[in-house]
């Protein structure tokens, strides 16, 4: 990360002698962007540095601070934090701290560098309070925690610089909101500090430039911008067989020999997949054909921490030839040995692909090597589109998110824990964060009211208030217990209810202990019956039973074992890439570059139905078997399609089309029923007003929406996920939040927390915002094809029907089926 390996004899400029000598001794020359950052810092300006991996970005971020710290005599300096570094990953903070030691030691700088993460022992935290290091490296959550302590104003008073690493990965999320709010507090405590944002290449730097600096009451300001030298263009190969391209699926089993060959041709390869279940399967498939016994490991978010650390350590030592991994390794410490990245499945977004490819890039002047492995026909299109975009230097731009009200509630409580606050002043602070520019004073006051007494129209909780007003009008916490509760619940990352998976010896009683292999979603485990087998942590396991908060398993052999499906990690196809895929689809000239089976597929579609223009929405209807189908191809990702499926089936029910179910994938949505849906007026069916009453009625029942509510309820502090008294299990939280949702919606549908939930659902699990944009886009541009049989484009989606459940969410139908199963069992004669 800190390595800057470009050798040159060019003259140096501006750096103090000791730094110049150090660069020379290393045989390096400072890069222009490193010098530019020193210059901006000299003027006290905040600046965003956008540079690819391998450009000495981290050193650039710290260089100004090291120079400032080297100038002052240590004894003349007060013991205070000079530079605060915040990274999205704990491991990255630790790694950067280690790398910083090199220049500090080699130049003999009087600089103390320390980390503070969730793993930092209490004794060290205590010491840091009394004797702060010059440079402190931490995470957004720890930063929030430190800000909520009573001595925060003193602790942070002398901060001169803040370095925000991987800002592009952080800013557009709830963690980004938490960090933005924290920075707005820091601004009040240390008004003189400057900020440096470090980011990978992004489509639009302006939102990050705004994020980085406090916004004035009206108008806007942006930080300065420094763009590092672009690296060499990557070399991207796409594995595609001329003979066979699967119609559906995400596993690319047919291409595993190609993946194995790519691994053989590499020193060390990272094999990226999109979900944890794909990781398990790919790992298994590779080992099945790993005749040379190459050391190939597995890494994903559900594996035990210890197991992941082992893999990372082996990687650092250069002991591994490949690691099959998920987005857990998108970011993080640099492994010099990685010389090839293999992406199995859909790239989902151009920026994500660039980020992943960058993991094999250590020198700016060398092209990184990447192999894309599409698992089906649509993914071939997606891979081609993504490669074109990356080579053309075009990336997907996300529109900046609106700061979450639930995160704000957490922040307000944290502020009160630190010291009594003045609502006017805190509102001004919050309003200066770019994500909270649109926050009205009224909404802010409602959030404060929510934190204080729950914010209910029925004023029942005044005597249990968490915040009270002092005689001079400041808000203070009512009891030290409130601060304790805040500290137990700080942070915005909400896990699904999880259980430990423990491996026990055969024949031992269930629950008698065993090594923890990792954690799995409770919803998956509770569907298993004892004796069921599944693949996890690269092993085939037999489920024995659940006792308390652990699932007990034994080792077994079963080639048919199922793979857990996970709720998380299903990021949708980006809007930008979707657009490029639509463009490619509509341009028969571009099909020539595609593998023959894919080209033929599109040609026959053109002949039998129609290929839509990029701005159009194709809707096909046709009978098949005993059912009537409606297919549409919005290319807006599975989440938005599922929401659309829910709403369309409601409407079709009202039109007496008797819809029976639907299935959605990233590209298309299929609805089926008992009546010919070709008679429906499609312009009316896809009318934007479905986002009114229909959406409202569905949300009242939706399990996805209730999960969104649960997350908001936990983040905002309505429900504790952990309490000082006892660790609440995930299950209790899930269950009670549904009950709370029902009651709150019945009595106070306009409550601020339901607003927070609705806004969250716009971009989160329901992707309503994207659906809304699509409905607007296709208005008046719907092309209807009434066919007598299934079209080629419809096949991939229809093939998913058997694998997917018939509706996107559980409905009471399944109770009916369970009842019938009981009747059948009772009525059986033999």
């Amino acid at each position: 990360m800190l390595a800057t390996t470009e050798r040159s004899g060019a003259a140096m400029s501006g750096l103090p002698d000791i730094f110049e000598r150090w660069f020379t001794a290393r045989g390096w020359v400072p890069r222009p962007h490193q010098l530019a950052l020193v210059e901006h810092a000299g003027k006290g300006e905040s600046v965003l540095l956008v540079a690819p991996t391998g450009g000495g970005k981290t050193l650039a971020g710290f260089l100004p601070s090291l120079i400032e710290l080297s100038g002052a005599h240590p004894r003349s300096r007060r013991r205070a934090i000079h530079t605060l570094y915040i990274s999205p990953l704990k491991a990255l903070a630790v790694d950067v701290a280690r790398n910083l030691e090199t220049p500090v030691a080699e130049m003999g700088l009087p600089v103390r560098v320390e980390t503070r993460t969730g793993d930092t022992p209490v004794s060290r935290r205590q010491r840091q309070r009394h004797s702060p290091p010059d440079i402190l490296l931490t995470t957004p959550e720890q930063f929030a925690l430190m800000l909520s302590s009573k001595d925060a104003p003193r602790f942070f008073a002398h901060v001169k610089a803040v370095v925000l690493d991987e800002l592009h990965a952080l800013s557009n999320s709830k963690r980004g909101d938490l960090l933005a709010l924290g920075l707005s507090r820091l601004q009040a405590m240390a008004p003189e500090h400057r900020r440096i944002g470090l980011s990978a290449t992004v489509a639009d730097t302006v939102p990050l430039q705004r994020y980085l600096v406090p916004q004035p009451p009206t108008g806007e300001t942006r930080s300065a911008l420094v763009v590092g030298q672009a690296g060499a263009k990557p070399e991207i190969a796409i594995v595609a067989s001329e003979a066979y391209v699967p119609w559906t699926g995400h596993l690319a089993r047919h291409a595993m020999p190609d993946v194995m060959n790519a691994i053989r041709a590499s020193k060390t390869a990272l094999v990226f997949v999109n979900t944890r279940s794909q990781a398990e399967r790919t790992f298994n498939e590779l080992w099945r054909i790993n005749d040379d016994n190459l050391p190939i490991a597995l890494h994903h978010g559900s594996l035990a921490q210890e197991q992941r650390r082992k893999v990372e350590a082996a990687m650092t030592r250069g002991d591994l030839r490949a690691v099959v991994c998920t987005s857990t390794l998108d970011l993080g410490i640099d492994w010099g040995a990685v010389d090839r990245v293999i992406c199995v499945g859909a790239p989902k977004g151009a920026a994500r692909l660039v980020q992943r490819i960058g993991r094999a890039n250590h020198r700016l002047d060398e092209a990184s090597q990447a192999v894309l492995v599409p698992a089906n026909r649509f993914e071939v299109l997606e891979c081609e589109a993504a490669r074109d975009a990356v080579l053309a230097g075009e990336l997907d731009g996300e529109s900046p998110r609106k700061g979450g009200l639930d995160v704000l509630a957490q922040h307000v409580l944290g502020a009160a824990c630190s010291a009594p606050f003045d609502a006017d002043a805190l509102y001004r602070e919050v309003h200066s964060a770019s994500s909270y520019r649109d926050l009205s004073r009224e909404d802010f006051d409602r959030v404060v009211d929510f934190v204080a007494t729950g914010g209910y129209a029925l004023k029942r909780y005044d005597r249990y208030a968490r915040l009270r007003k002092t005689p001079v009008g400041l808000w203070r916490i009512s009891h030290p217990r409130v601060a304790q509760q805040y500290r137990f619940n700080v942070g915005v990352i909400i896990e699904e209810p999880m259980l430990d998976v423990r491996l026990q010896g055969k024949g031992r009683p269930i629950g008698a202990g065993g090594r923890v292999l990792g954690r799995l979603e409770e919803f998956f485990l509770e569907q298993l019956a004892p004796g069921d087998t599944f693949v996890f942590a690269g092993q085939v396991l037999r489920f024995e039973g659940i006792r308390e908060s652990a699932a007990y398993v034994t080792r077994t052999q079963d080639p048919e074992a199922q793979v857990p499906s996970y709720q998380g990690g299903k990021f949708p196809l980006s809007t930008f890439l979707a657009m490029r895929v639509r463009e490619m689809l509509s341009d028969p000239q571009s099909w020539k570059a595609l593998p023959t089976p894919v080209g033929e597929w599109l040609q026959i579609q053109q002949y039998r139905s129609v290929i839509p223009e990029p701005g159009q929405l194709l809707v096909e209807t046709f009978p098949r078997g005993s059912k009537e189908y409606l297919l549409c191809y919005p290319f807006e990702g599975r989440l938005a399609h599922q929401t659309l499926g829910m709403l369309l089936t409601r409407r079709l029910e009202r039109l007496r089309m008797r819809p029976l179910g639907f299935v959605a994938n990233e590209y298309a949505l299929a609805v089926w029923g008992l009546r010919d849906m070709g008679v429906v007026n499609m312009d009316q069916l896809f009318e934007e007003d479905m986002l009114g009453d229909d959406l409202d009625a569905w949300l009242a029942e939706s399990a996805l929406y209730k999960r969104t509510f649960r997350n908001c309820a936990i983040i905002s502090g309505l429900i504790e996920r952990r309490s000082p008294r006892s660790e609440m299990t995930g299950r209790q939280v899930t269950f009670s939040s549904d009950l709370i949702y029902d009651v709150l919606r019945e009595h106070e549908p306009d409550h601020i927390l339901l607003r927070a939930t609705y806004e969250d659902a716009g971009t989160g699990l329901l992707d309503i915002a994207r659906l809304a944009a699509m409905l607007k886009r296709v208005k008046g541009r719907i092309v209807v094809q009434k066919l007598d049989r299934v079209s080629p484009l419809a096949v991939p989606c229809l093939l998913e029907i058997s694998k997917e459940m018939v509706a996107g969410e559980a409905r009471e139908d399944i109770l009916h089926e369970a009842e019938e199963a009981l009747v059948k069992e009772a009525m059986r004669l033999g």
Binding site: L718, E720, Q732, L739, V743, E809, I814, E819, L822
Partner: protein, 220 residues
């Protein structure tokens, strides 16, 4: 049809989809585990849950009372979430409860959450009561008692079909005894798989799962 008919120890009972038990021949309506003011009980420890749980519960009860017009109502214990819960009711809620109390003969069974019931409630207070072939008490007994109608355990059933799981409150019964689902808006649940529930039944029993409009009988 909202209800499902079952027979327990010779008595014909109706299981209501809202979670109450209706005994037509005795014109008796039975609720278990109302847990009034559970929300405000949490508020005391800093979790400011929506303070409408008692209202929701009372509204749901009132609908059933209006529908069945029972001459007797039995609350199977844990009607109040804690000893001070009754004092936290507001006038509106207290009024609703008093109005319902006037409409029928009430029997309040004592529960572990509410061993002492407020005097103003009216009706009779008992630790258990036998009527016809049935015995009403809060906590199911360990021995297999024929005709026992109890609450306390808050049974719930997870039904999984085609990869989807629904978790709902349910009645649990083997035809000899019944455990009622909790009726209170904020009352949690215990899976019927749990030993505390399973051990109450000698052999197979059924979960009568509460749906939006009807009750579904499934194997427990």
């Amino acid at each position: 049809m909202d209800e499902m008919a079952i027979e327990v120890n010779g008595e014909h009972l109706m299981l209501d989809a809202a979670g109450a038990l209706w005994w037509p021949s005795e014109s008796t309506l039975v609720f278990a585990d109302l847990h009034f003011e559970k929300g405000s009980s949490y508020a005391r420890t800093g979790q400011l849950l929506p303070p409408y749980d008692t209202r929701t519960t009372l509204n749901r009860m009132a609908r059933l009372v209006a529908c069945h017009r029972p001459s007797r109502i039995i609350a199977l214990g844990d009607s109040f979430h804690d000893r001070e819960a009754a004092e936290r009711l507001d006038d509106h809620e207290r009024g609703a409860l008093e109005a319902m109390a006037k409409a029928a003969e009430w029997i309040w069974i004592e529960g572990n959450h509410d061993p002492v019931l407020p005097v103003w409630l009216g009706g009779r207070v008992a630790s258990e009561i036998a009527i016809g072939g049935l015995l009403f008490r809060h906590e199911p007994s360990a021995s297999h008692v024929k005709g026992e109608i109890a609450g306390h355990l808050h049974p719930c059933k997870s039904v999984t079909q085609r990869g989807h799981t629904l978790r709902r409150r349910c009645f649990a019964s083997d035809g000899r005894r019944v455990v009622l689902p909790a009726f209170g808006a904020y009352a949690g649940g215990l899976d019927v798989e749990d030993l505390a529930l399973r051990s109450l039944f000698a052999d197979a029993f059924r979960a009568y799962v509460l749906g939006a409009k009807r009750v579904y009988a499934v194997a427990a």
